[in-house]
Symmetry: D2
């Protein structure tokens, strides 16, 4: 089918490529003319503005927004809201807080513009494998987009999970689980890296992929990374987080649900980004104060 | 090849069955005559005692011990030590603390009896899929057992990971990671179970198996369990632990390695087994003492 | 000096009593006529409405709001905003989120009504010992209230800690620390309660009050509670939280600060209020799925 | 009364001084002749060896061992076991694992030498304030030492808590609680250090000492440290641990008791001593692997 696509970053470009490989008609826009040119190489039709993009689509149209979360997504959707017509659809494929989906769907409703939130997982591997899509919004509108979702996802890899925001909600929880899993592996591999057994971590990760209880896609990636650089000497342990973990933690506070491994995983990331920890200095200061324990100055 | 096999519980019986399917010659012993009879149904040869089992194997022989960890394993190995001859091999396939492997290998060395520790993962699915085997001990002895390991494991599913104890060490870390992963999923699914979106947890688990970052074998099992009983109403949240998690935590203390998600996962299991928590009563008592907050009596 | 006082609950009544003991002139209002009558017994002057209360105070007046946090406080302050005159002062002594203080101070500014936030610690013991007061707002206005703060607090027990909201911010962190300390004690006493040494927990708590590193007021309260009911058999381990812990956790997320003991303490409280834990059922379900481990049904 | 005292380090010297201030007769030994000379300045009698020390004490005698925990304490007690006579007493005042107390008491029993374990809290402030003493062993022997304990401790500051090892057991739990409390304060002060309110942390710590729920001796020390160096710029956040926290965690594993804040506090210390964290590198590697997220190299 035909769809507009805004945002040709790492994720967006791959998604357009995958859609083009399945012969969908894609009209693309990005702030970067080079990115548009690159997308045109896949057979997509470039647009010079949001207005231009919408004008090139048959009515009612659908526009997939794949720009950085937060302000860029918000502004793009606000702009589209002023251009689109009743029965058109906006799909937000980025990492949006589900509360914003609910709000936006409400704001667009009086204009009869449909809103769909599509939590998208798969990272840079999605081009090849397909993207797991968690879709929220009205069922009829979701169904209309079936060909697009079916192309983007691997077999059985997309699902209408619920009303507006449900897609990003499920994606948020997905990412929180991802944090805990990563932290679990990280602890295990750190411990093994300290063992006197001189364990070959890459081979062990690989081994576990064959029949063990902990086999997973993340473990497969771990095997690859550890084989390439067994002591990870080439990396700094500086770990970003893209927001979903915090949102999940806040949602857990809203619902009185204990999420101790999620919080632990998140705090490990915070700590990884601190050059020095005031809390740890405070501990040293206290030990010194009551015990005269020597401290490093 | 030919091997003796002691212990025909859930795991042991399946392993014998898998070995028999590949036409290995197996002599089996178990405390339960019924279990022996069942194993004979697969073509294994029953023995009436450890002595009898050893006498039915050509020299030098190999005996796989697959009895409950702790005292039963220790006693079986002590008994075998009195029966076996130089160049024979004992394989401990259970959940033994790696320190015990090191000790046993040392005790058996003067008798020239070889000792191999084989950490075994795969649970009840191993019969069909194969068992992931993490093997510790002398390389030459490990090589001698190659046909057995190759049959028991799926393709690329066994590895000689290091010296005596290394197999169980790697298995211990494997299980600790398993705890963290399970806890991560459990937190995520609990949160979703409380959502107003009325999410279909089984379908979501299933969805995530297709292209998402958190896909794993545990998630596949989660999907199965949640489809069968979406609210898990049929279960009590009483969670056992078989020891490896504690050992990993103790090893982390030995090596000054932070393992906060492991400890969190372990403590969740401890808490799950408490009818009531003294600590939580203490918190209630303190709140009452300073704030006059009402408490439940 | 003269002050209006709204809210004669457990905390409010004690504060009015303490102010009256120091001969301040207090005009009081509460939804409950009985509470007003009781306060009149301390020499306070009862009012029949907010309007009446304000009319009984000389200009410019000060009104201390001590009603439940959230909607009741918000509504009371909104009502006062419509009654008070320029240069009057509202003091919020409850447990308000500091963002609300900042907002309210901004809303009241055009009306030239002053706003002071006073974080108040001390619980039911404040009547006798005095309340620790953490005060936020304009310095000049804070100074005007010096006689009130000085009476309510013990010696050196009040401080102007910063601009609007700072008082409740510091109180929020205070309460978060309180959670961690309580949890630390609770874990220690639970462990001792399980010891074969048959330890006398009340006596040990008492002992530690004399020269040990862990002596504190909370420990003193613990000693009292444990002497009264050594096994805490009379209590249910059902632990409420009044919000500050969550707010502190959210603030830590805003600032990328790891607060792992706070989150742990908070989640323990969440868990204490669950009849059964979906997460723990999920763990049991997974163990059953991969290992055929028996589960309780 | 008369007592022998071995070990004149920071703690030991202060204890001898305090005992001398109360006119006890003390015979002292230390590896360092200078330390012995210093102790003689308080009126203690120096000894040239353990043998010499014992020979200078009337029978039956008591000897307090206050040397570093682990091997030094063990060796000293083994040596004393060869020198002392039936009915003599050894008191271990150091940080010994309670299992070692139980073992030692058993080893000394055939020789009729008594063994007392005295967990000692108070740090460098004990000289002035007195030491909180948690005493384990036989009641009759403990009673014999009453004058010594009474001098060392502040009023009501020592207690016979149970059988052999109970003193060190209670001290172990005491120290574990200390870790959690310190961590709780450290998190709170770190958060406040990041606040836009530019809070004066030393003054706030001081304020909280007057009537707040979180007042404690540790907080008093915190106030002192933060007033001296408000941003703790002079310190490195490198935090040692002396063993009791680990032992408490291991004991909690033995008893299936959740101790999540203790473990968190302990792991924070481990992390504080890592130049870089393998686990955090692993997280960065995984994020890079699935998301192409930029990593620091």
């Amino acid at each position: 089918m035909e769809i507009g696509f805004i945002g040709l970053g790492k994720m967006g470009m791959n998604m357009v490529t995958r859609l083009r490989q399945d012969n969908h008609q894609i009209v693309v826009f990005d702030r970067s003319p080079e990115a548009i040119k690159q997308a045109e190489g896949t057979g997509a039709i470039g647009a010079s503005s949001l207005q231009d993009l919408v004008s090139k689509l048959a009515k009612p149209c659908a526009v997939w927004v794949m720009v950085p979360s937060g302000a860029p997504t918000e502004e793009t959707i606000q702009s589209l809201a002023g251009i689109l017509q009743p029965d058109d659809v906006i799909i937000d494929g980025g990492n949006t807080k589900f509360h914003d989906d609910v709000r936006r769907a409400g704001e667009l409703k009086p204009k009869q513009i449909h809103y769909i939130d599509a939590g998208t997982s798969g990272g840079i591997w999605g081009l090849q494998i397909g993207y797991c899509l968690m879709v929220g919004g009205d069922k009829a509108v979701v169904n209309r987009l079936d060909p697009i979702f079916t192309t983007l996802a691997p077999k059985d890899g997309w699902l209408h999970v619920g009303a507006h925001g449900a897609g990003h909600y499920v994606k948020m929880v997905h990412n929180g689980i991802e944090y805990s899993m990563m932290q679990g592996y990280a602890e295990g591999f750190e411990l093994m890296s300290k063992s006197d057994y001189k364990l070959d971590l890459g081979n062990i990760a690989d081994l576990w992929m064959h029949g063990s209880v902990v086999r997973s896609w993340l473990l497969e990636l771990a095997a690859g990374a550890l084989k390439e650089d067994p002591k990870l000497t080439g990396l700094k342990g500086y770990v970003q987080d893209s927001g979903e973990g915090r949102w999940m933690l806040m949602d857990a506070l809203d619902k009185d649900v204990p999420v101790p491994t999620l919080s632990t995983a998140l705090f490990t990331r915070f700590r990884s980004r601190q050059e020095e920890s005031f809390a740890e200095k405070m501990l040293a200061a206290l030990r010194n104060a009551f015990g005269g324990h020597s401290v490093k100055r």
